[in-house]
Symmetry: D2
Subunit: 353 residues, 4 copies
């Protein structure tokens, strides 16, 4: 159910409607739009009686939402969600989901302060606004390198201070979620946890943006339902990320499904990024697929960069070199205007000098 | 690495070898076999120096294990793992992985005490030794029924007392894991959590058998690595369960991959069950696929039974009726001897009277 | 559209209805049933005017068929299709689709007269009623062995005369189709040609049964539509065969989808066999999956047997040894009665002596 | 095996080596390169004796080719294959595989002369160099529209004369292959026939370029082996075309696998196009994926355009409108230089006036 407020509805009227909904034992989600505010209702088992709500002052209409996801649906919020990151002190504000493309770059794992700083300097110099690096690694083998943990978080916090890069890193359970939310700017939920509903609900209680990766065999509906789990707890800043799905094809590690971009645009207002590193698993496919992602309309790129990928502790074969990253940024900057976008990167260059 | 002890090695010698390994900062996993004990070594980054270990008394040889999984591998433990459940006071002992087939039956969700007892009585009367019922439900939608939680656990504990059925139920996070481990006989980890490594490690610290369902797009190697996560923490009682994978095929909800049964047999000593309910999603496919699973060599069946599936709160369309379950048991009992197995069920009939 | 005749309709009345349909520029397919005859109408673009047809004598009713396939649908023909093979002079009649299970066994390719006879003798001795052997091989590489062609057909004709085994072999194009139809008892259309519609139509003009293998990524609807192509040309003796589909799973060559068996039963009256050799690609999975196929309700098995698989010119790793085949027959004979079937095999034993 | 000739080898020396190879009962495939000619040898069962060949005059070296495909491999021919189409009298020459991108556009099926001409005029005006239209349609249902056949071929020949567009159309069997080869400029082999080896061999005997679509579940190796079938018969002008594969994903009809583009580049010298119409099955995904394909490095686009898609006899929901096609051309022209390519289209605009 969705309560659409009149264009001239006052904040007090909106609050009164929310209060009414909560008194019914339901949950109200005010969703401000450019023209008017809508209020999503969740928690109802069946139909909610519309009459009483429609009678409240400031209410334009009450409509049913037929999709299984509600808060993530474009039916409920027509405008694209733009997630804003104020200036870190170095460089200007940044956004994910607006006209500016977002580029999140860095190593698979934080291996040492030296490694992280060297890569951060490189990606900042080429214009990345966000830095990624694994502190907690979900590894297929219990015997593989599992990440430096909180030490890595501290290193990344220094990187933010030094280069003005916002930090994106993965949380893998409740413990790491709290720490990541404390230190990072964006909390990543990985593909293997896309249906870890307990973790999603916890992430929904955070007031930090959540970058949610598509599961290896998740349908679009399931992907949006996972976002809905986060949003249903009150955190509406969810960033979707396509990272390849499992198929029979064996020329890449996964099959990057770029066709999900126009499909997400149709159904949801949430931003969608693409990770061509995990999506292909092969260094020489990363640039072509990064260009393709932007050409297909993605809101940005999440990419693994390493200064010595041949000795990386994880995912070396899919990490690109800093000079490849620089070339990628040049190419994306040229493709951006074709799709009505812009790749902001002037400021970072100075930052790294 | 695997230390193979001499057949006549004493418990003291075995302990001494374990102590030596632990002093090296590694982890020792004693794995008793019919002829001799082997000791798995995990935690080593590279090669362990064999010389010193081979020189210890009672050691026959030290061998490298080439598979990425070690404790789950048949190279490390040749005999099938048999998990034993002593009598609950009603009826005899039970096993999973031995000559006797295991049948785990019950509703998708515990909906009420009445519903659960009615179904339990039915499945006990037909010879099931284990009762399944969801207390914590991982649902695709945040707005769907999420289970009765600890109330459901209490109901199932009563069912064990009343009918002698061992309880199998799913844990979805750390909180529910502790409760489930306290109340149930087998802790289930669901398909969506097969690579929730944090949860797997916690389950590895339990002293309760863990039933691990194959992820929707998990390869066999990933499945065994997930088992290895549990085992690497010291819990060697892992039961694998095939429940269908994601494919393009649309005549069933998932594609039940029975060919994993002979493949698991070849590579691992762990028992493997099949869930034809989730594996097909269609009631009229459950019996054919249950028969097929046993004929293919599975160690047993996990099946959803409901006395009123048309009003079930979840998965009604794939739950079979009690009379279908009775017929299934008759059929499985006939197929069992063809594959050298036995379906124990005499005692339960009395229990339910 | 389907014309259902009255139970007591005469052959003349049926003929008159067919004539009427053909005069409308449509095609009539008389489908005799146990109780009454139905006449399928194909070739209509839209709705056919029912009034005139219902007014013809002997017509009970005219009904619309909503499925995209009509002649293959159980809506149109309720009774299972049973394909009959009269005695070859050695041994009794045989059937595919009736109470008796059908077993089709032999090498992937006919490599020589000696090889073929040796294997044929073995499989006949164990009770197979049908012999398979490739004369024309659709190979992924143009440089791989492509089969002995007509020489292989002649060898198989001798095998029929000598052992009383009916011959099943694949046609790969129009030229081979004519030759295969001349020499063999069942014409196989392979998985790669399941949607070679030109070949299917030609096969529909034959008066020999057609064994149609499921394509590597064919949905059930597409599979039945391929059968419909054959049937729409007047050949109603189509035998379906599941042989594994393409998925991400890598522990077998293909993923054998046994759940298609109950799904075919529900939707179609055509018999369905299973090929566990191509379905798994691994010798040690063939017996378990053959047992599983019969337990799931398949009408029979198509299996590769070779007396020296280690030197086979094709598919050696998935061919079973003659003694494994004998064991398989023993096991299938025990499972058959559980599913209301029978494995006929007494006569063949004498034949081979 | 590959014979690499010296840079200064004469045509007579090349001919002498070919003759020598043919006398050995093998097949010689001269492959001219920018620097030197190589001669592929096929038809050998095992190793060919190199000594005698290396002793022939003009031979630089004889090397083994380890890939299962040889003539399609970049190991055998390093330079990209460029297929040249001389001017039709209207407009300049065209190429597929060179610096210029190729755009092939038109309706799924030729429905009438009026429909075909109207669409042809539109796509020519926007700069397409090639016109596609189905004359022979491989339809899933035997009851669906199967194409106008030779009448459609005649209409397309008129379109070539009128607009200077080269004609691309599908052959589905030997009969249509001969007719298509006679009337069209490029012979298309559809996805369902990618492993119709009999048809591929016939296409290999043509002297017309062959556009080969990837099968719905074909691996890259199988795709290149299918091309090898055509090339092994002497037709080296093969154009690959990605058109989506079968996966579990349900937001598009197929999953367009753009990551095959860099993979093909690495392994083969053959050009690769992308069909975003069949690849997605949804009109509003066609433009994004067309842009993505070019950004990923494809040699061009095959796209369905219809002036009244809502009444198209086939594939209406995936056909774009002429104005969308015009916009697509504008966008591709802007992306082309980012990947070092050019979209030629000036001349066509005049042609259509």
């Amino acid at each position: 159910m969705l309560v659409v407020m009149k264009a001239q509805a006052t904040p007090e009227q909106i609050q009164a409607v929310c209060d009414h909904i909560e008194q019914l034992g339901l949950r109200a989600h005010p969703l401000p739009g450019a023209q008017r505010t809508a209020i999503g209702i969740t928690g109802n088992k069946g139909e909610v009686d519309r009459g009483n709500i429609e009678a409240l002052s400031g209410v334009a209409e009450v409509i049913r939402v037929s999709k299984p996801y509600k808060l993530a649906s474009r039916d409920v919020k027509e405008e694209d969600t733009v997630i804003r990151f104020p200036s870190t002190g170095i460089g200007p504000d940044a956004t994910i989901g607006g006209r500016d493309l977002a580029v999140i770059a860095g190593p698979c794992s934080i291996e040492s302060r030296e490694q992280a700083f060297a890569i951060a300097e490189n990606v900042a110099a080429s214009g990345a606004q966000f830095f990624r690096g694994g502190a907690y690694k979900p590894r297929t083998s219990p015997y593989a390198f599992q990440g430096l943990g909180v030490e890595a978080l501290r290193i990344m916090a220094e990187i933010r201070d030094r280069f003005g890069l916002r930090i994106v890193t993965e949380a893998i359970d409740n413990e790491s979620l709290e720490l990541v939310a404390e230190w990072a700017d964006v909390v990543q939920i990985g593909a293997r946890n896309m249906q870890n509903f307990s973790l999603l609900k916890r992430a929904g209680k955070l007031r930090k943006p959540v970058l949610l990766k598509r599961g290896l065999s998740a349908t679009l509906d399931e992907f949006l339902m996972a976002a809905e789990y986060v949003m249903s707890e009150g955190n509406y800043e969810v960033i979707l990320c396509e990272r390849g799905v499992r198929t029979f094809a064996d020329h890449t590690r996964n099959t990057l499904d770029l066709s999900i971009i126009p499909a997400v645009r149709r159904l949801s207002h949430l931003p969608i990024l693409v990770d061509p590193s995990h999506g292909t698993g092969k260094r020489d496919s990363v640039l072509p697929m990064a260009r393709a992602a932007i050409a297909a309309g993605a809101d940005g790129i999440l990419v693994e960069v390493h200064n010595h990928p041949e000795v990386a502790l994880s995912d070396g074969q899919q990490s690109i070199y800093p000079d490849q990253f620089a070339r990628m940024m040049d190419e994306l900057a040229q493709i951006a205007p074709v799709v009505g976008r812009n790749l902001p990167r002037d400021i970072r260059v100075e930052a790294a000098k």
